[in-house]
Every structure is written in structure tokens, then in C-alpha cells.
């Protein structure tokens, strides 16, 4: 078992895979075309390897990854549902994959029609009339949302600088607020896991631009007071932003627009099954209400007598958040998904997601409810649920982290750990709708077995994992003396 080598440590000077096309034009002296002072003196030290070496290197690296096609991946808040291969097939069609973003719209009608259709579908799912597909991920959609809110208020001559975010919010929410030049005001959580209404009332004033809410929230709970919350926020003239990361819980059952939200972001790489690629790509389209619409990013897809065009001309727009039309390749996949499932299928997806989550919750509470009680779970949950490892830690002297690491030896990707922050030793579990009952049962039993094992000997879990390509890694050391690139000779 020797250390893995990087591609830069393989190969040999002079090796190569690439064969350059012939120089088929009259060659001119390089200095004549490019003055010496602009020229690079030394070639970048890229790898010198043969094609077979590259293939073996990365194929073997890939085997050091755990992935969704190989096993259960109940990573809370990430909606790791099956990625249909049909989507890869259609996304690879040359008419999409090899389409230049600056192609004349007249010659890109199929792509624009697809974007239009996807916008319409997302509008229907969210209950908000206008959609922009431009944002590249959820947090990018949040950025759009906050900037839109600000533009909306400024257009009314108001400069509101506060944004309310519950303490259950995902880290991207507060981070986005700051990046957009506004100020975060935290709102508490009440005993049944929803927004603390009194705290909200206290903090909701004329300086508040926006409330950012995830509903169901990051505990997998739908806020029972959502109507009251909307009223409180609207009464002070503020906007409601819906973090759609958890939309997989409610498709066809309820819609942000109907709850009073003005802005929603979607994570196509969650709810609409864009494969996550080990950290992207994704897409974070947003849907907005009529009053927000004037400020939407450009360009926008418009339909004019049967044809589709890109419109840049919007006097009140906040402008662009990135180049071109967004992560189109992800639109193709999510559109294929929506067309495969249809209205019924999307609703079925949410219903089975909720069924699976509640079933797994019940099985885990059977197995070990005393050691891993559910947080705020009186009403069950929607698509995910949060357990607290605090009793386990007390009783068995193993932490949520140890449980997670031991699950690796059982062949599972662990749930999300230590998020949301307000739950002690949190374990956030989201099975998704594409898992079978057999898988959920086996997982519950594995957790039970680990806890029984820990009762015998907590060291086993504390030192786990054992069967992985590497074992626990020195993260502190990595941060203290960062080595973030291959040192070169």
C-alpha cells in the first residue's frame, strides 16, 4: 500500500498524449507576430504522460470516491436522488453541447424554447410568474434575490439595510447578505422548530429589506405559522425570499408563491437531479413576483410571435450575474426530468421523499430513539429530519462524527453532520424518493449495530473508518501548513 501519486509525479520528460494538427499555413517568425517581451520564457510544467497513463490515473482516482450510483447517500439538505442517464444522453446532443452561446437566436430556437419551457415549468411549481435561469447555483440565486430586493426598495426611494435570517439558515444565506452589502439580523427558532414569532415581530421594522426563509427548513419541518410570518414581514413592507433547497419536499403539495414569497431560488442539482459532479456544476434559477420582475437580470428569454429571443433591454434591471445564458447544460437535464415525470411524477417524487423520510425516521427511532432522538419531530417531518447525537455522546462516549465515520465502514455515505447549528451533535438525514424500503431498513439496522458496538467498545467508532482508501485525516495540520499544489522540482 504505497502513497497515491499525482499526475505531476507520473510520466517522464518528453512523453505526450496530444498530437497537434499540422501547421497548414505559411509559418512566420514568432517574434514578428508576438514581441519578445510578451512571450513566455518557460513552458508551464504540465504533466508529460501518455494517454494510457492519463486514463489509468483518473480511472483509479475515481475508485477512491464514494458515489450515488454505488450506494446510499442520505446527505441532509443535498437531495441526493437518482441521476437518470437519459439526461446525460440528451445533454450530449451536439445541438445542445456544441451550441455557441453567441449563436444568432434565430439559429438557436431549440435551446431558447427549452429555456422558455423550463421557465414556465419552474414558474408553475413555485407559483411565481417570472423566472430567470441565469444563477449558477443556489447561493448565486440568493445573491440575485438580495440584489433584486435592494433594487426594489431603492426604486421606492427606500434604503433598507437589514435582512432577517433564522438561526436554522444555511451558511450561504448570511454570507450572501454581507456580499450584497446588507446586514444580517438573526431570528430565533421556537420550541417546535419554526420561526420564533415574537422575536420576528420585535425585529421586523422599517429597516428590514428581506426575510430569507427555508421552508421546510433545514430541520425538514414546514413552518406552521408561515401565513402569520408572511403577514408580519409584509406589514413592514419587506420582501420574503424562499430558499428552495428543500423544494423536493413539497412539489405539487404547496407553493412558495401561494405562501406569500416574492422570490424563490431552485437548486436544479437537488430537486431537479442535475448530478452534483463532486461539487458542481449546478444551477440556481429564481422565480419572482410581478413587483420584482422589473429588476430581473438580463438577458431574458422572450417569446415573440412564435419565436424566442434574448432581451437585454430592461431599464430597471440589476444587470448580469455572469456570462452568457447560465448553465444551459443543467437546464437540459432538469427539463428532461420534468418532462419525464410530469405533474404527477413530480408530486409522486415529493410524496415518496416524505414517505421515505418519515419511514426512516420511524425505523431509527425504533432502533435507537433514546440515543438519537429526533429534534422537533413531534409532527414527524417532511423530506428530511434532524437527529441529535447528544444522548449518544453522553451515554456511549461517541460523537456524531464518530457515528458518521463508522457508517463509512458499512458502505454508506453519512448524513450531514453538525448542521443545522442549533441542534447539538446534529445529524441531518435525507433519504430521497429514489431509495428502496430495503435500503432504508438496512441503513437503520447499520446505525443500530454501530450503537450496540459502541456500547461494547466506543474505541471502535472513535477510530473509524478502517476500510476506506485513507483513514481520518489531519485537517488541522492541512490548514496550519497548507500544501495546496504539487511542489515542482
Amino acid at each position: 500500500m504505497t502513497d497515491t501519486l499525482t499526475i505531476f509525479e507520473k510520466g517522464r520528460a518528453g512523453r505526450r498524449a496530444f498530437v497537434a494538427p499540422k501547421l497548414d499555413v505559411p509559418e512566420r517568425p514568432r517574434d514578428e507576430l508576438l514581441p519578445k517581451r510578451f512571450q513566455r520564457a518557460e513552458a508551464p510544467r504540465l504533466p508529460e504522460v501518455s494517454e494510457p497513463e492519463i486514463v489509468r490515473h483518473y480511472v483509479n482516482l475515481s475508485k477512491r470516491n464514494f458515489d450515488l450510483d454505488s450506494g446510499f447517500y442520505p446527505l441532509g439538505s443535498c437531495t441526493m436522488k437518482h441521476n437518470p442517464r437519459l439526461h446525460e444522453r440528451v445533454a450530449a446532443l451536439p445541438g445542445f453541447g456544441r451550441l455557441h452561446p453567441l449563436q444568432d437566436p434565430k439559429r438557436a430556437q431549440g435551446a431558447l424554447e427549452l429555456m422558455w419551457n423550463l421557465e414556465r415549468a419552474l414558474s408553475e411549481v413555485s407559483g411565481l410568474p417570472h423566472v430567470s435561469l441565469q444563477p449558477s447555483a443556489g447561493s448565486h440565486g440568493e445573491t440575485a434575490g438580495v440584489l433584486l430586493t435592494r433594487a426594489y426598495h431603492e426604486d421606492r426611494g427606500q434604503t433598507r439595510h437589514k435582512v432577517l435570517t433564522p438561526d436554522t439558515a444555511h451558511g450561504t444565506n448570511p454570507a450572501t447578505v454581507t456580499m450584497a452589502g446588507l446586514e444580517v439580523v438573526k431570528v430565533g427558532t421556537n420550541p417546535d422548530g419554526g420561526v420564533d414569532l415574537d422575536d420576528l415581530r420585535d425585529k421586523a421594522d422599517e429597516d428590514v429589506a428581506l426575510l430569507m426563509l427555508t421552508n421546510p427548513n433545514t430541520l425538514g419541518l414546514f413552518d406552521p405559522n408561515i401565513e402569520e410570518i408572511a403577514k408580519i414581514v409584509h406589514d413592514v413592507g419587506a420582501i420574503l425570499y424562499y430558499d428552495g433547497a428543500n423544494l423536493n419536499a413539497v412539489m405539487g403539495r404547496t407553493r412558495p408563491g401561494d405562501m406569500g414569497f416574492d422570490i424563490v431560488h431552485f437548486n436544479l442539482h437537488k430537486t431537479f437531479t442535475q448530478p452534483h459532479g463532486g461539487g458542481g456544476p449546478g444551477a440556481g434559477p429564481i422565480a419572482v413576483s410581478d413587483r420584482i420582475e422589473p429588476y430581473l437580470m438580463v438577458p431574458r428569454v422572450v417569446r415573440r410571435n412564435g419565436g424566442f429571443y434574448l432581451n437585454d433591454d430592461a431599464p430597471k434591471t440589476i444587470g448580469r450575474l455572469r456570462g452568457f445564458q447560465g448553465n444551459f447544460g443543467t437546464f437540459v437535464r432538469s427539463y428532461a426530468y420534468i418532462r419525464s415525470l410530469g405533474a404527477e411524477g413530480l408530486q409522486d417524487a415529493s410524496e415518496v421523499a416524505v414517505l421515505n423520510a418519515n419511514y426512516l425516521l420511524a425505523r431509527l427511532q425504533e432502533e435507537c430513539g433514546d440515543l438519537l432522538p429526533v429534534a422537533f419531530g413531534e409532527r414527524g417531518c417532511l423530506h428530511e429530519f434532524c437527529l441529535s447525537g447528544a444522548p449518544m455522546k453522553r451515554e456511549l462516549q461517541i460523537r456524531t462524527l464518530d457515528l458518521a465515520k463508522r457508517l463509512l465502514d458499512h458502505g454508506y455515505h453519512p448524513p450531514t453532520v453538525y448542521f443545522p447549528l442549533l441542534v447539538d451533535e446534529a445529524l441531518l438525514v435525507e433519504p430521497t424518493e429514489t431509495e428502496t424500503k430495503e435500503t432504508l431498513d438496512a441503513f437503520a439496522e447499520a446505525v443500530g449495530a454501530i450503537l450496540r458496538e459502541a456500547r461494547e467498545d466506543p474505541q471502535v467508532a472513535r477510530n473509524a473508518p478502517y476500510s476506506t482508501p485513507v483513514r481520518r485525516l489531519d485537517e488541522a495540520g492541512a490548514a496550519k501548513r497548507p500544501v495546496i499544489r504539487q511542489p515542482m522540482g
Partner: protein, 453 residues
Amino acid sequence: MSRYTAVTPEDLREMLATIGVGSLDELFDRQIPAGVRLDRALDLPEGLPEQAVYEHLRDLAAKNTSTEDEITFLGAGMYDTYVPAIVDMLMERSELLTPYTPYQPEISQGGLQVMFEYQTAIRELTALPVSNASVYEGPSALAAAGYLAKLANGKRRFVISAGVHPHSRETLRTMARGYRMEVVEVPLRDGVTDPDAWAAAIDAETSAVFVQQPNFLGAVEDVEALMGAAKDSPAVCVAQVDPLTLGILKPPGECGVDVAVGEGQQLGNKLDFGGPSFGFFAATEAYLRRMPGRIAGETRDVDGKRGFVLTLQTREQHIRREKATSNICTAQALNALGGVVHLSWLGRQGIVELGNLLLQRTAYAREQLAALEGVELLHEQPVVREFAVTLDAPVKAVIARCQDQGVNPGHALDGNGLLVALSERRSRADIDRLAEVLGAAVAAERGRVEVTA
């Protein structure tokens, strides 16, 4: 239509019993207040079998003119480079395609090492020591550099060359408006950033300066001189660069650049009508702890075995929340994988050969087009893989005529300008065909113009 789920009626019965509810509705009703329940089915087309979805998407794709359907010289930020087959194969491997961000390093060593190798490759290309593991794409990468500068020096003003891609300038403005940063644009002279206006625009309140190499018109900028002009200011020096030119162009790290950013599409990624691709972001050591996005670092496990982890996470939103250096979470890991695989395939010699090939063919194409009646060079600056001309005819009409002949001559610029880009896929024959078709189109349009005049 139910799809990809597995609940049989029997499963449903057993599961509801275990949960202790009588129906699916109960699960929702105990969570969602009656007032906001949707009391109708979603109004969407009904679900389709796999083959029908395939055919629908295939038909939509067929309505687009792709780079396989015409000889294209469109560039302006994204280019028709050939993606080697091994890149697709690896990007489609389940183990690389379907995992989430590597939150559990013990079972994510593949993805983490790929990030580490990617960071090394970007370092080699840019000659800047610190690279993150990718951001969304080019223009937002440039805006991210602006935010880094804002946090770093808290100054009031950005100075950006008009030679920077319009999408990057617009994105920077959008973000800057948020945190109240002023943006000053410096015009071009003779196709490159006006050095006097540039120097005049920079002062003690300049938070960052931005140039593009080669610039939007394809011209090679004197980046060293431009960055030198900001030397005595607090400004962070930012350059947006074309990665495929870095085999032959002096790298940003040797031109006084603090932060180099750029669009990565050409490195292993398809055009995809604009995305997904990736943005790269590299900087000097000084900014290591101010970088946005993920960074993979090397370390050891408890047995002393080499491994990789996400590191310096105290910069990030999930730890620092409102104090994070960026809000980015999901980025473009898979696309960055395509990048490092493509770069390994090109290799140390290939990246230089490719740069030379582009340089020579671009020079040839520029010469051929300049020789045409009614076509003039927009500038005489050195170019590497893209150049601009002015047409003595309405550019949009000329482009349309060329496309009817199966040639896409490039991107229309104001004032009947045309931006012509080369990729290694455009042979001399393609260039000659372009000259022929463009010449004819310009002639025809000038004819029309005279007539109507």
C-alpha cells in the same frame, strides 16, 4: 407518472403502518397548514416514457445550428475547441459524476486529489502560487476578485479597462452596486487600454484594477506596464486571461498580477450554449486566506498515509457565515476535472504547440481578411487567437449571408466591427473558405447599400 421511485402498494402499506399514519396525505397535512395547501394538480404536461423524452429533446436540439453544422469563427469568450474523448469518458464516470462536494474526505480522495492536481495545473498556467478548486465561470470570477479586493483594502473604486469582456464588466458592476463600489472604465486606444487614461484613473482610493489578456478585441495588452502603473496604489491587480494562450504568452504571475481569473470552458468543456464550464481563480500567497471557494490541501491520515482534504475552510460560508470571504458553495468541480484532464492530455509540449498553431493561423486569417475589399483591421496590435476587423457594410446582414453559406464569420461589434476567433479546429481550408464567403457577403451588402442609397 411515477418514475425512479420504488414503492409498491405493499411497501406503502408496510411503511405507513410503521410510521403510524393512515395515508400519505396525513404526512403532509400534519406539516402544511390548510391555508397554503395546493388543492389542484400542477399544470404541467404529463410524463413521458424515456424514448419519448429522448425524441422531444433530440428534436429541440435539431433546431439549433451547432459548431458541427457550420464552420464557426465565433469566440468572444467561448471557443470551439476539440474536447478529447477521454475527458467525456472520465466526466461520465459515476464515481466522478454523481458524488456531492467532498464533505467526507475518507471516501472522496478521488475528487479531492483531482482538485489538488487542478490547482497545480492552474498554478503552472498562471505562474501564481495559489489557486482555488474553481468558481462558476469567467465573468463571475472577475467579480469575485473585486470582492476580494474590497475585503482586502476597503477602498472606494474599481478601475477596469474597456478591453475586458463586456459580460465581465457588467457582472462586476452588478455586484459592485451591491456593496456601493464605484466602477471607472478606462477606454481603449489603438485597440489596447489607453495607458495615460489608465494611469490617470488610478489613485489612493483604487481598490482594484482589471485588465484582460488578450483583450476583448484580441489584442495583446502590455499587462506588465498596466500593472506597473498601479504599483504605488493600494489596488489589487487583476487580470482575466485566456488559458489556451498561456503556453506562449507571458503568464500573469510574471506581469505583476495579484489575481488572475478566467473562463475555463476551453479546457475540457463543451460550449453548452454558455455553460456549465468553470472559472479559475489564482492569486499570490498574500491572498491565500482571502480566496473564495473550495481549496484542496495535502495532508496525512492517522496511519501516515498521504491524503487530501478541503482546507482553509474558515474562509467559507458554512463556517464563517456572514463573515465568509464568499458565499459560493456548489461550484464547478466536474468541469474543473475536465480542465485538468484536458491539460494533462495537452501536456507541457502540447500547450505550447497549440499556442503557436493558434498564433500562426490567426496571423494568416487576419492577413486574408485584411486583404478583402471592404474589410479593414480594427487595430494593428499583436494578436494570438482572435482579432477584430471593421466592415464597410452592415455587419449583421453580412453575418447572416455568411451563415446561409455555412460559415459563421464571428461576433458582431458596434460600428460594423467583427470579432473573428480561431480554434485549433479551424484549418487553413476553413480560413480560406471564410475569406471567400465573407468577401462575397460584404460585396453583396455594399452593392445593396449603394442601390438603396
